[in-house]
Point group: C2
Chain length 279, copies 2
């Protein structure tokens, strides 16, 4: 796992060419998988200003739901995502198979697990961490209930004791923001120090490879931003607190347009390679 924070920004118009709910689910699943394969920490869905007012608010929240569902371990999905009609095709989503989705119901001391806070008393909180027979672990802190947190297993005896904690040496999934804000304002929320704007109208990656590599090397919070099906990024991202580079990661593209999910995978592949140069 690389040590930098990497976030990916996609527009709320991402699904607009598809009306079929099953395909919308599948297409979002492609993004979820790409994030996990390449250890991305945060996905931000911003408002595509080239499109009419609030046209895609619903799609934005749908994507956030699907990506959240994928990022939730199998044993917590039913609790964390109550049945609703938009989620009826989640069965086709490919599993992430990340370290934060363990499949073993037996827990070990020192292991990290995501857990769902079921109920609380004066001494602490009962947490579902995916053990057999829906047995609950206990955390000696008073946490909000009906939420997913990460825990470390402290003791395995008659009772399993956990405390809130997250590992820092394995990939632990991604966070999701559906901002309903412009790209610029969404970037300000995240506050990266280096923004990579992908567009076919910029210099090609091969022509600026060394400069690009050095910038990736010296950045600590990278944001990679993508346009939607209708246009490249329409907002001007220059002149803010972050360093900006525009790059075409698909030189000599054979097709007139590149779809957002294709650009996401292709770009993350190259940046992942560079991040591994650096580490």
């Amino acid at each position: 796992m690389h040590k930098k924070q990497v976030s990916v920004f996609i527009p709320d118009s991402f699904l607009s060419e598809t009306t079929d709910l099953k395909l919308k689910t599948y297409k979002t699943g492609v993004i979820g998988r790409a994030l996990a394969v390449f250890n991305v920490n945060l996905i931000v869905i911003y408002k595509d200003l080239s499109q009419k007012d609030d046209k895609f608010v619903k799609d934005s929240d749908f994507m956030a739901d699907i990506l959240g569902y994928m990022n939730t371990p199998q044993y917590l999905r039913k609790k964390a995502y109550p049945i609703k009609s938009e989620l009826k095709h989640v069965g086709i989503l490919p599993p992430l198979r990340t370290p934060h989705h363990p499949t073993d119901p037996d827990v070990k001391v020192g292991e990290f697990r995501q857990g769902f806070t079921v109920k609380r008393n004066k001494k602490g909180t009962f947490v579902d961490i995916g053990m057999n027979n829906e047995n609950l672990a206990f955390c000696k802190e008073q946490l909000s209930v009906n939420k997913v947190f990460s825990f470390k297993v402290i003791k395995v005896a008659k009772e399993v004791i956990v405390e809130p904690d997250e590992p820092d040496d394995v990939y632990w999934g991604y966070d999701i923001l559906s901002t309903h804000k412009s790209l610029k304002n969404s970037l300000k929320l995240v506050n990266p120090d280096f923004v990579i704007e992908t567009t076919r109208y910029a210099d090609t990656i091969n022509s600026i490879f060394n400069e690009f590599e050095e910038k990736v090397d010296s950045a600590s919070k990278l944001a990679i931003v993508f346009g939607g099906p209708y246009s490249s990024i329409s907002e001007e991202l220059d002149g803010f607190s972050w360093d900006l580079i525009k790059v075409n990661t698909i030189p000599s593209q054979g097709t007139e347009t590149v779809r957002t999910e294709e650009a996401v995978l292709s770009t993350l592949s190259i940046i992942n390679m560079l991040l591994n140069f650096v580490d």
Copy 2:
């Protein structure tokens, strides 16, 4: 467009995790798009020997049909692909939007077009090249009928005259082979001089970057081979007429497994960048 010949090899087990015909169609479409985005010349579907005898013969031919359909210009699809039930979801396939799929019914002298040979007489062959009112062009050669060939427009008058020809400076789509043969024997059919075997068990791309770049540079016929959903490539590809390199193009992968379509896009992205270094 790069000057080297690039072929991609995927196993016939590619679709085996999906039973839904619509999703099988969509998943194959992801591959077709990736080939066109990255100017791939040939896709070969080989027999995955890790799977039971002939289990995926049908899937192999289905993929070839879908990829062929995508590679055919819109104006020839109905002629070249008569209705059959396996093709009922082709409406969801994204268009390639490549130079060999023109959308203008007016043809110009010097232009290249794919055409379907409709009928033949002693003087030559009538060809549908997508003009208005289903007007046919004429080619002064006797060609087999009911086939798709590439033509150059020689004369535009009362009659449009074409001759068989293909451009060499723009991407002109991909060829498809469904071999029903092992990977080794499929490679022998294509006879590349450099084979890139993608596997997570090999050296990572970042650790062998310079060596890899030099080999790509000196090769003229590259074959990039991918495993299927069940396993890495099981055949031994060393010791043949080609130079072989094994490489992991996704260092530090966050997920336990990488899906074939994810590996295809990620790998082609890096190799496309390298091919553009070289040109």
